[in-house]
Amino acid sequence: MIELFDVTKRFGDETAVDGITLRIEKGELCVLVGTSGCGKSTTLRMVNRLIEHDGGEIHLDGQPVRSFDEVTLRRRIGYVIQSTGLFPHWTVARNIGLVPRLLKWPRARVRERVEELMRLLGLPVAEFADKYPRQLSGGQAQRVGVARALAADPDILLMDEPFGALDPITRETLQHELRELQARLHKTIVFVTHDMDEALSLADRLVVMHQGRIVQQGGPIELLHDPANAFVESLLGGMDRGLKEAALIKVGERMLPLGPRLLASERIAYGASLSQALSVMLWHQVDRLTVVDEEDIPIGELSLRRLLGARAS
Amino acid sequence: MKSTALDARRITPLARARRWLTPLAWLALLLLSAGMGQLEWLFRLIEPDVRAVVYRRSGFFALLGQHILVVGVASLLAVVLGVGAAIAVTRPAGRDFLPLVSQLASIGQTFPPVAVLALAVPVLGFGTLPIIVALLLYGLLPIVRNTLAGIGSIPAEVHEAARGMGMTAGQVLRQVELPLAAPVILAGIRTSVTINIATAALGATVGASNLGDPIITGIVNGNTAYIVQGAVLIGLLALAVDSGFERLLRRG
């Protein structure tokens, strides 16, 4: 659990972070989102004390971060940044094993852990262990970056625009992988991004920042429905909000059980989103879809009314 | 680009002259020092026991002129040949020679200039000509190397854009490649001239008469006053020229 009480940071005359109070629960994926210069990265870096806060207090599991030795503190917190910061003179395996080695784990255990993480992040050990960072693609390098941050099994993971420099397809894949990883590991993650789509698709809770202050916070649907002001609304994409929301809701949540009627000719997967369902309807000019499970067995149906009604319910 | 044009308009002639203050100050000091034949009493302090304390075999202005002439001719030729060669090997027709020329330019720079000067003598004999040739050959290397580096570092997009706009090969060279590479080329010329001024002084050992002369004569005869006179003048010449380049580079 991370708590910020009235935290302030000034750089010279500029106030980068202006009295932020925030509580991030254990196992929560909290996304700080906002335009560049809004203070989101500064906030993140004050948690592991790469930047020291000027005013207020930051607590980690109830203890002020200043009470920890900064080096010990950082070894307990995973940290991932956009440009990966992988050490160019070390192999992938050595990069991933950094923190365990700093913590003086026995050599065999470090190697075991490194291999476990490489498998977890889809990096075949034989192929990648001895490569150097410059031999990796952007996506691969960022996987190594995440593996390195997870190496000592920290409770908390800080991620500063980790996928910002990747192409859209790789970015989406890694977002998906992060969601799956989080479903298994239940870390407390603070994730900074300026990309609202990324924020909406990852966040348990969004914290929108502007000019060093928190403008609004809440779950993705909550924000979409009820933006606090015009700034948040514009960040959310104005007229596209409907589609954005539909992208967050699964077909399974809105479908009805199979009725007595004939099966509709077009099918949609149980786990697909409402926006995908809408797209299928538009494309085939139908108003009813058959919902199928992973084995392609029909388990329900979704009508256009039902799809639209989602908003009302 | 636009801002420098605006700045230039706002700058008064006085301010413009002030930018050249450092090189001009060195130059003035150099010319003043060339008149140090008058300062016999001062050098008397360094060498109280010898008869002649001021180098008189030829005037300091003549030596300075000789020095500048040798370095000037060699450097000018080196610039023409060096930049020309680098341009030639970066054109499609000469590209075959690019790897060899660029390797030669970097390997050649590991040769100590003294050794090059010494090797020129058996081939060319004593006197001013071998020095000019040696300076020219050695001075080529940094110029070629920097011109190649300057042209080579121009991003491919810039090149493509220039050609895409319909510029001819000559226009691309004159209006895009050379202006963009100019600071790097100028830095190469500066290195070349600095080395040449120093190496030319050594030419006194192979029979050229220039500012190295008083130093060599002083060393041979154990006359420290001569050494100081030559050393001060060469040092000031080098500083004046170098600060001139510094000024040029900062504008570019």
């Binding site: 940044i81 | 010494a118 090797l119």
Partner: protein, 388 residues
């Protein structure tokens, strides 16, 4: 591109045609009865009716022919031909010497002439070109030079006694070894001292911006002063110090000698060293440093495990520049009585004895190239990310 045939390699073609032309027309050797009299020049075709010279011209023309339609196999063949030529040249020289120097000329001296020098130069250029085209590694290139060096070594030790350069060396081999030692000592001492001083200076510069500004200003200023002038300017105060303090004079500090040479060398060496160490430590990717801190590395760990290994190749590059520069400057230092290989150059120039000049100049060039290659390959080995 329907055309299957590669375009001619104009570089090799012109190098080899030039080499053949120079070889067959210019003077290859000159023979003098003793050190004083001028030599009689001979072209390669004069020796043994010219057939060995023509035989050697065959591989040159063959390489030129292969260069007309270059392909991988042809280039490898050319490489073999060039290495063979470089190895055979000393043998030809030996044969020429044995024919031209008769037993009634015990003091005879054979000097290498323009065509042989030019041929050597052009063949080395061809070697560089072939190495680039074939993408050979540094190590392979060195291996290729082994037969060449062996050929020259065998010829020099067995048959080339009348070679002027060798005679010059034999006349003063003790002096040569001594000069070489002095040269290496001066270079080594100056480079080592500048490395230590530069590290201290950079540490101070990283603390205080003022030190950085002034430091670079002074070092740039020093670097601009021509070597002869700096040596000269140091003579006067050191002579004064030597005359004033006996203990300084007793360790050799005086106007002339090692002291001004060492100080000037140190001054010149500091700029490239400081600049490279400074750049090396400053320009490590900030993201790498940040993530190192973010991972919980202590300051010491960040410096020793991240900054230093990443900086090392750049520092080595500084060491390379400094060493190569110092080798050349030490030659100039001979003028102010510091000894070293430059002594031969300036004595030779003074006596118009060109072979003596070569005795100084060639080893200096060899030393510079060797230092360059040594540090170059060392920093290549240490390049971050390894050679993969």
């Amino acid at each position: 591109m329907a055309e299957g045939r590669p375009p001619p390699n104009w570089v090799l073609l012109s190098l080899m045609l030039g080499a053949a032309a120079a070889w067959l027309t210019l003077d290859a050797v000159s023979v003098a009865a003793n050190r004083i009299v001028p030599g009689t020049p001979h072209s390669a075709l004069d020796v043994m009716n010219g057939w060995p010279a023509l035989l050697l011209a065959v591989p040159m023309l063959a390489v030129a022919f292969l260069a007309w339609r270059p392909h991988d196999k042809g280039l490898r063949l050319s490489l073999a031909a060039v290495v063979a030529l470089l190895t055979l040249l000393p043998l030809w020289l030996s044969a020429a010497t044995s024919v031209l120097v008769t037993s009634d000329m015990p003091q005879a001296r054979v000097a290498i002439g323009a065509s042989l020098w030019l041929l050597l130069f052009l063949l080395l250029l061809a070697l560089i070109e072939l190495r680039t085209r074939l993408g050979l590694s540094r190590a392979t290139a060195w291996l290729l030079l082994i037969p060449v060096v062996a050929g020259w070594w065998v010829a020099l030790s067995l048959w080339l006694e009348p070679l002027a350069l060798l005679r010059e060396y034999q006349a003063r081999s003790d002096q040569f070894i001594g000069a070489l030692g002095t040269h290496l000592m001066l270079v080594g001492a100056a480079v080592a001292a500048s490395l230590i001083l530069a590290v201290l200076l950079v540490l101070a510069m990283r603390r205080h911006a003022g030190v950085r500004r002034v430091g670079f200003g002074v070092l740039n200023f020093l670097q601009t002063i021509p070597s002869l002038a700096l040596f000269g300017l140091l003579l006067a105060p050191l002579a004064w110090l030597g005359a004033r303090f006996d203990w300084l004079a007793s360790i050799g500090v005086g106007g002339i000698g090692w002291a001004p040479a060492f100080l000037a060398l140190l001054g010149y060496s500091l700029l490239p060293m400081v600049r490279n160490i400074h750049v090396a430590l400053e320009e490590v990717d900030p993201a790498v440093i940040e993530s190192a801190h973010g991972m919980g590395m202590s300051r010491r760990q960040v410096f020793l495990q991240v900054r230093l290994p990443l900086a090392l190749p750049v520092v080595l590059e500084g060491l390379r520049i400094t060493t190569v520069q110092a080798i050349g400057l030490t030659a100039v230092a001979a003028l102010i009585g510091a000894g070293g290989l430059g002594t031969f150059i300036f004595q030779g120039l003074g006596q118009a004895a060109m072979d003596m000049v070569l005795l100084g100049a060639l080893p200096i060039i060899a030393l510079a190239l060797l230092a360059d290659a040594l540090f170059g390959s060392l920093s290549e080995c240490l390049r971050p990310g390894g050679a993969a």
